[in-house]
Symmetry: C2
Subunit: 222 residues, 2 copies
DNA sequence: TAGATTGTTAATCGATTAACAATC
DNA sequence: TAGATTGTTAATCGATTAACAATC
């Protein structure tokens, strides 16, 4: 299904398409044109057609796109049908937030373990029904359960220390909430979530209004 | 201080420069060249010089950049010296994580209020020492305290309902953790943090290794 | 068939990299 | 001064938009 090489910009838009198509499906909408989509997402119809065509023709001339088919196709492209397993390393507030966020599971990301330096602080806490384990159990857990992904929700220093253990244990994707830029081998994928950088960017943009905002209030109808 | 029109791509890199320069400062490093910076950030020296020059010349030929001066200059460009006030709407796990994240305050973002539909569930919780208030108190609080920013950490439906209240109350920036794309007037800035989209992107990238990863393991020394 | 809308090529725009003269 | 490294212009690359023929 994968063609040559998909531009980064396209990939980062796929989840947004997926989310919006999910909403349309829930509303019972059966077909949608690139022009319809462009109205509700912040993109031109041309860009949407261009984007989707990187993966082959999902649409039909004169008709548009079948919502359900497109939704499922994008889901497959994103690999949501693969059933990833994920652990969370760091049971602080962000870690617990990720853990209890059940929607991830619906999207094919299943949390199978949570680890913390001080598991005794979390006895009896309900994080999606999963018990918080001690960090010392991590290596054995990795060997036995081979999780695909680790969400790193610890302070920077801890994150840098844990990373080699995760890699040694075969983790192939790291969802990094720490402030550290992790250095990993080629076959490990890092996805950074730098919240304070996001907030600083907001601060900047508030003071420097530009013609076209990332998410603007404009919207033409029909 | 602001020149013509700074490219979006540059803006989104500023917080990263800022963070890295902060580390260098803590290490006591006094000067740094664009080549040094390029080695540790994932960018070419040329890009770094190009980026910084949008704001005027911070460097000196034959010497490089003064770390402290550059750090402070970028801080000013980002407006971190303005002392933003922020409220948090939604005292779920993510909301409380944001609330208790004291580093924001050091960066000039001060949390002055937390609101939740059910404040009674949060009696006695310590979120950076701020009490969780009921949603009914929000309009009056906005009038009195005029916060600059609201972090929206509620489920989508709630977020869409609260947004008009925030705008009516004079909030100029919304840090949006909900899954909704909010529609706001031109003078209000939205910064989205879509965690599940980030996770889906990770899933995709794990299965489609590309030559140049966003954060790769490569790094040449000197 | 006529109308609608895609798929796809070409044109434009923006961002990154390369190169080098200016200058500390 | 000689060496280093910026500031800045030019060249390349990539992403977006426009246009339209193909086709349902």
């Amino acid at each position: 299904m994968e063609e040559k090489e998909i531009p980064k910009a396209v990939i980062s838009r796929l989840p947004k398409y997926y989310r919006y198509l999910g909403i349309l499906m829930d509303e019972g909408v059966e077909r949608v044109s690139s022009a319809d989509l462009s109205r509700h997402m912040h993109a031109t119809a041309s860009q949407i057609r261009q984007d989707l065509n990187h993966f082959g023709g999902f649409g039909q001339q004169g008709y548009g796109y079948n919502v359900k088919y497109l939704y499922e196709s994008i889901g497959k492209i994103l690999g949501l049908d693969r059933g990833y397993t994920m652990i969370i390393v760091g049971a602080g507030r962000i870690g617990m937030a990720v853990a209890s966020y059940t929607r991830f599971e619906k999207r094919g990301f299943k949390v199978i373990g949570i680890f913390d330096r001080r598991p005794e602080n979390h006895r009896g806490e309900n994080a999606g029904g999963i018990e918080v384990r001690g960090m010392d159990e991590l290596p054995a857990f990795l060997r036995q359960n081979k999780p695909d992904i680790a969400a790193l929700t610890m302070p920077s220093e801890g994150a840098a220390m844990v990373t080699p253990i995760l890699i040694e244990g075969g983790v192939k994707g790291i969802w990094n909430f720490s402030h550290m830029d992790l250095e990993v081998p080629e076959d490990v994928t890092i996805q950074d979530v730098h919240l304070s950088e996001s907030l600083m960017e907001l601060g900047y943009r508030m003071n420097h209004p530009s013609g076209g905002q990332k998410t603007s209030g404009r919207r033409q109808e029909s």
